[in-house]
Every structure is written in C-alpha cells, then in structure tokens.
C-alpha cells in the first residue's frame, strides 16, 4: 500500500485500470470456456443425450481439454486465400467483441473503486459503435477465404448484421428518454429507484433481444455459419487457433450482449430485495453485487443456448423482411408512444 501511495494519481489510475482489464478479460475467458461447455451439455440434454462428462467430475475440465486441442492442432493456411486478410480476420472479429465489455458495470464498487473499466458518459453509444466494427471481421473472413461457402456466409452475415444494428439502436432510444443519460451506471441507478426497465418497456426488450440474436449470429439467425447449409460458413477454411479466435469472438459477443441486456433491462447488479439496490459499502456487498450480475448473465446465456435448439433457422428474405420492414416501424412507433407518454405525464 505504501508503494501504491507513492505513485501519482495518474499512475494509480493506470495501475488500477490495468488490474480491472486483466480481471474482466480473465473472467470473460473463463465464462467463454464454460459457456461452450454449458452449450454442449444443455443442447445434449435437450436432445435426449448426455454431453461430455468424462473429463473431470461431470465433465467440468472439458474446456481445458478443448484448449489443449486448440493449441496442438495444425494451423493450416490454404493456398488459395488472400493471406493478409486471412490472418487479420480472426483478430478483427475477436477484438471488438472484448472491447464492448469495457463500459459495462460489473458491480457497484469494491472498496473505493467503481466496478466499471471506463465509466463513460456516452457508454451505450460506444457499445453500438464497437458492435458495428464486428461486422468487418466476418466479411473479411468470407472475402479472404476465396471459396464459395465462406463467401456466401460472409455476404449473408454482412447484410444481416447491418440491418439489425439499426433496429437494435432504435429500440433502446426510449430507454434513454426515460433515464435521461447515456451513462450505464445512471441506467442502473434509475432501475434501482423504480421498477426494472423490462416492465416499463417490454416492446423495446423484445426488439433488442431478437436483434441481439441477429447481431451475434446465433440461431434462429445464424445464416452466416449455418452448419447444415454452408459447411462452416465464414469459418470453413480456418483451423486451430484462428478458428478458436472466431469462436471466442462469437461467444464474447454473446456474453457482451447478455451483459448489455442485463444492464439495460434487468437492473444490472441490483436486486430489489435486501437493500441490494444501493451501491455497496462493504467488501462483501460489492462481491455480492458482482455475483448477482454474473448470475443474471448466466441466465441470459442459458436463454441464448436454449433458443438455439428451439427454433428453426430464418430464411434470408424472411430475415431481411423482419429487420427492415417490421422492427424499424415498430421501434419508431415505440419511440413516439414513449415520447408522448413522457410529455403527457410531465
């Protein structure tokens, strides 16, 4: 502590931010590993079979086996690809997925530190900007692979992701009209003082949920990598570590979307009971808040996994129809109705 106090405030801030980044990164990696494991187990149970249960008790060490396999597999670059973009694409997919976690409040505070990496006043705008970058990775992968299945996957993915970004952005505008600020900690404070926003804006939640499925390329919108139609879609030509980066990017997107949904609609780290809706004053309270947040993310991830095995895939024209001709008018209608309601009840 003495060494810590000797540094200037600027350096202290850097050090603490570094620790927070390392923690969030480690947490997301672990969450990713166990999300893959949970997906395999849950999808197996839905299909009347058992998932992997041999490695470790109940198969809990399976992610370690997967990780070792990823490292030891041959990393093959086919001859016909455009090498520069081929190597860039996994990184361009992976990085924005993790960047969008920087503004999400994981808890209230531990000691004197707020549990956000960057408490931006334009939090949500930052997130939507980063999510738009995520399109490039898939498009590059499809283009660079120079072969028909990845090409089709990349085209479909680009159109799909761009269409649903608009619906996603418009659907949360009423929320910020109610809250009055784009800062995510303010959104949580607003929900702590009143009801959760999912009860005040159910239509916005529904549109955001479905748009989140489309943005993360999960069923029922996974045309980009539909295994039954396109072999692997945009990640057909990738092996070992590059494929693992794509996979990590997809699951990190899922985790980030779940975290956004929990923060915007389900009250983030608060629970309306036991006085847990105020920022914590003790270390235990802070840890409890983080635990609540993680629990809610797990429930949302379970929803993502469950819906994958529940619904058939959308056809491409049905998907575009839904995104442009149905969600955007409904989201606009929602904005008008909320505006009128706020004006009338002022």
């Amino acid at each position: 502590m003495h060494l810590f106090d000797q540094l200037s405030p600027h350096q202290q801030f850097l050090l603490i931010s570094f620790v927070k980044v390392a923690c969030v990164f480690g947490f997301t990696m672990t969450m990713f590993a166990y999300a893959v494991m949970a997906e395999r187990r849950i999808s197996a149970f839905i299909q009347n079979r058992v998932g992997p249960n041999r490695v470790g008790p109940l198969g809990l060490l399976q992610p370690m086996a997967d990780g070792i396999k990823s490292f030891l597999k041959e990393d093959f670059t086919p001859d016909h690809v455009r090498k520069c973009y081929f190597w860039l694409a996994p990184a361009v997919t992976f990085i924005p997925a993790y960047l969008s976690l920087a503004v999400i409040p994981f808890g209230s505070r531990l000691g004197a530190e707020k549990m956000v990496i960057a408490d931006l006043n334009v939090g949500v705008l930052y997130t939507f900007g980063i999510v738009s970058l995520g399109v490039y990775g898939i498009v590059l992968a499809g283009y660079a692979s120079n072969s028909k299945y990845p090409f089709l996957g990349g085209i479909r993915a680009s159109a799909q992701m761009i269409s649903y970004e608009i619906a996603m952005g418009m659907s949360v505008v009423p929320l910020f009209m109610l809250v009055g600020s784009l800062n995510l900690s303010d959104v949580i404070a607003y929900q702590a003082n009143g009801a959760w926003l999912v009860f005040k804006q159910p239509l916005a939640f529904l549109i955001f949920l479905i748009a989140a499925f489309a943005e993360t390329n999960r069923l029922p919108f996974d045309l980009a990598e539909s295994e039954t139609e396109l072999v692997g879609g945009y990640n057909t030509e990738y092996s070992s570590m590059k494929f693992a980066l794509f996979f990590m990017g997809e699951y990190a997107n899922m985790i980030a979307s779940s975290a956004m949904m929990v923060t915007l609609f389900f009250g983030g780290w608060t629970l309306p009971v036991f006085g847990l809706d105020q920022p914590a004053s003790t270390l235990l309270g802070g840890l409890l808040h983080i635990g609540i947040f993680v629990g809610k993310i797990c429930v949302m991830l379970g929803l993502f996994i469950w819906v994958r095995w529940m619904l058939p895939r959308f056809r491409y024209d049905q998907l575009m129809d839904l995104g442009w001709r149905r969600f955007i008018p409904v989201a606009l209608l929602n904005i008008f109705v909320t505006a009128i309601a706020i004006w009338v009840t002022r």
Binding site: F45, R49, V50, W306, M310, L311
Partner: protein, 181 residues
Amino acid sequence: MIVNRKELNLWERLYLPAVIGGFKVTVKHFFQKKVTMQYPEEKWSVPQGYRGAPYLVKDQESRTKCVSCQLCEFVCPPKAIRITPPGPELNPETGNVEKRPKEFEIDMLRCIFCGFCQEVCPEEAIFLMKDYALTGESRKEMVYKKEKLLALGGVHHDRIMKWKRKETEAEKQEAFPVAKE
C-alpha cells in the same frame, strides 16, 4: 398436386404460438430419460448367436479338439488363420488324437468375424465367442497364437467324445496297439 397453404391469423403471424410450442417441446425433452449408455461402466448384452472373436476350445477332459485338418484355413475369406500341422512323428502327449496343430495363429486384424470357420470345422473345435472389443498395442500383439486362443476359448462340453470312444473300442477289439497316455 395442390398444397393447401392456410392463411395465418394475426396471433400466428407473430410467430408466438410457434415459439411457445418450441418452449414446450424443448423443456419436455430436457427432463426426459437420456438414451446414452455410459460405455465402460454399462455394456450392452450381446444377443444369442452373436459372432464375436473366434477361439479354440478344449473338451471336458482338457484335450484340444482341433486336429489341424486346415479346413478353416482354407475357407477363411480374408485368410486370417494360419495353421502349421505337426510332422509325421508321433507326439507322446496327444495319444490317439492325430495331428494336433503345432502352431495355430489367427490374425484378429484380418478376421471379419464371418463364422465360416466355425461352420466348416468337423471337430467343433473353433467357436465364435461373445468377445467384441479386442485391443492391442501393436500389430504383432493382435496375431493370437494357439495358447492364447485355447486360454480364451475355455471348455466346450462334448457329448460325443469321438476319440475317447475310438480308444476304448480299439482296446476292446485289440486290433491295433494303442499307445498309452
């Protein structure tokens, strides 16, 4: 052929009944009994007449029943069996059973478990048993020799006991000198 496409009402066009139906089906299946068998702990029971690995048998007096007629070697489709018959000199331990094989090898990697050897054997000396999971660490290890085949084959109760009956009849007739065991 005319396909009837029903007009969907508003409720159905929102896809909500489809989604709710999907919920019900997946939840039902989540809690149903799983069909997976945890393999090394639970094994399935082989049906009767199952053709596993072929092994040599002894009768209830521990005599090897095989007489190296080499019919199984001849009929085996992938030529997995190799027999070396004994030479012309009498083997004192086999008594009046002629031609016990000097060496009998079955290459388990070539065997196709067809059962022709069991069908063609005139002495009922080779049987396909219930063993289906054969493992070894090298190709040499998977070529089973006579001792291993006899050990794995076990005892087959012989109601006829051909050679013993011949021995006792010959003794009664005293037509040939019989070498005592």
